[in-house]
């Protein structure tokens, strides 16, 4: 076991974990931040997406030992960011969510997309969101919400 100092949503955190422990389990089990979801455990579905140094990251496959001093932002903190706030508002406006299980990962990916590509095309959206799976099939509303958020951010 090792002790790791993390910065999560701007707050310093200290956890003791095996170096191979995925960041997801440090967030959920040690820090009790359960907004980030376990979906597949192999980076295939995107439900566990967080931001590490601004990059959308699949927390289920990234060991805590590889985070280093890079800041982590989760769904609990993304609303503090203007783009994150706009995306969450658009999600509500477009009534995107059905069961909701994948949506924290969807929102984290959407924010990462809009931060790099503020005016995304449909192709941009489909490519960037292509790694986030939704069993309820909310893809059309997700795309519309990203476009709504993009317009709000102009």
């Amino acid at each position: 076991m090792e002790t790791y100092k993390l910065t999560v949503n701007g707050q310093p955190k200290e956890v003791t974990a095996d170096p191979g422990t995925p960041l997801l389990w440090v967030l959920r089990e040690d820090l009790k931040m359960t907004g980030t979801k376990y979906g597949c455990g192999i980076a295939a579905c995107g439900a566990c997406t967080v931001h590490v140094a601004g990059i959308a990251t699949r927390s289920c496959v990234v060991p805590v030992s590889l985070i280093g001093d890079r800041p982590v932002v989760t769904i609990e903190g993304i609303g503090q960011d203007p783009v994150g706030r706009a995306v969450q508002d658009a999600w509500v406006a477009e009534d995107v969510v059905q069961c909701g299980y994948c949506q924290s990962g969807q929102i984290m990916s959407a924010v990462a997309l809009l931060k790099k590509t503020p005016k995304p095309t449909v192709t941009n959206i489909e490519q960037s969101m292509g790694g986030n799976v939704c069993r309820c099939g909310t893809y059309v509303r997700i795309r519309e919400a990203i476009q709504t958020a993009s317009q709000q951010l102009k």
């Binding site: 990916s109 990462a112 590509t117 941009n124 490519q127 969101m129 790694g131």
Partner: protein, 214 residues
């Protein structure tokens, strides 16, 4: 008796001085041996071509060629299947926003989760593709031609090509590729890294000869 002993001592001291002088004059004593340049005959074209075939055997191993694709996506595994999770190349060979290489691949292998990693994980540019759009590996002659064409190889001269093989983190990764998700070790290229560098050096010293397509 005393006179004889003195003569013997004088003879001994004289011999000692001669030996010391001889030793001082040799390169071994002056430290030149280690830095002395060996006279090495330049590698012949035949030796260069043979070395190239060794290099080619590494470049076309899945650990290398999976990221030297001709397509809009990388490949995975020894069967070189399309990368899962809808990963695409992107404009810089690093994926697209929200689905970058770094979304999963970190600066080192993550053996606990089976995700390989190394510094600056990315696809090689299309100019350095070593397979065609149907995933057929290009011939030895064609890969060699790409690698020696400075309009395709990031403007590397011979020394640059050798340095790339010696120092590029992703080249090093291919020889320490970590474990798959099921705990098995990823397969390795047919040469060690040292052997790859040695073969590349021989090929470079032979002026990077390329074979001809049949």
């Amino acid at each position: 008796m005393a006179c004889s002993s003195r003569a013997m001592l004088r003879l001994f001291l004289t011999l000692l001085l001669i030996c010391a002088g001889w030793l001082a004059a040799t390169p071994l004593a002056s430290g030149q041996s280690a830095s002395r340049k060996e006279t090495v005959a330049p590698a012949t074209r035949e030796a260069g071509l043979a070395a190239w075939q060794q290099v080619y055997s590494v470049l076309t191993h899945p650990r290398c060629i999976n990221c030297h694709t001709a397509t809009d996506y990388p490949q995975q595994g020894d069967d070189r299947h399309r990368h899962l999770f809808n990963v695409v190349r992107g404009t810089e060979g690093k994926g697209v926003p929200a689905l970058n290489c770094a979304t999963c691949h970190q600066g080192a292998n993550a053996d606990s989760t089976g995700v390989p990693g190394a510094e600056n994980w990315h696809l090689a540019p299309l100019s350095m593709r070593w397979q065609d759009v149907n995933d057929k590996i290009l011939s030895s002659a064609d890969v060699c031609k790409s690698l020696t064409d400075r309009s395709k190889n990031d403007n590397l001269d011979a020394a640059g090509v050798l340095k790339h093989q010696q120092t590029e983190p992703l080249v090093h990764w291919a020889f320490a590729p970590g474990r798959n998700r099921n705990g098995t070790a990823r397969s390795l290229p047919p040469l060690t890294h040292d052997q790859l560098v040695a073969a590349t050096r021989t090929w470079v010293e032979a002026r990077m000869p390329c074979p001809q397509n049949p």
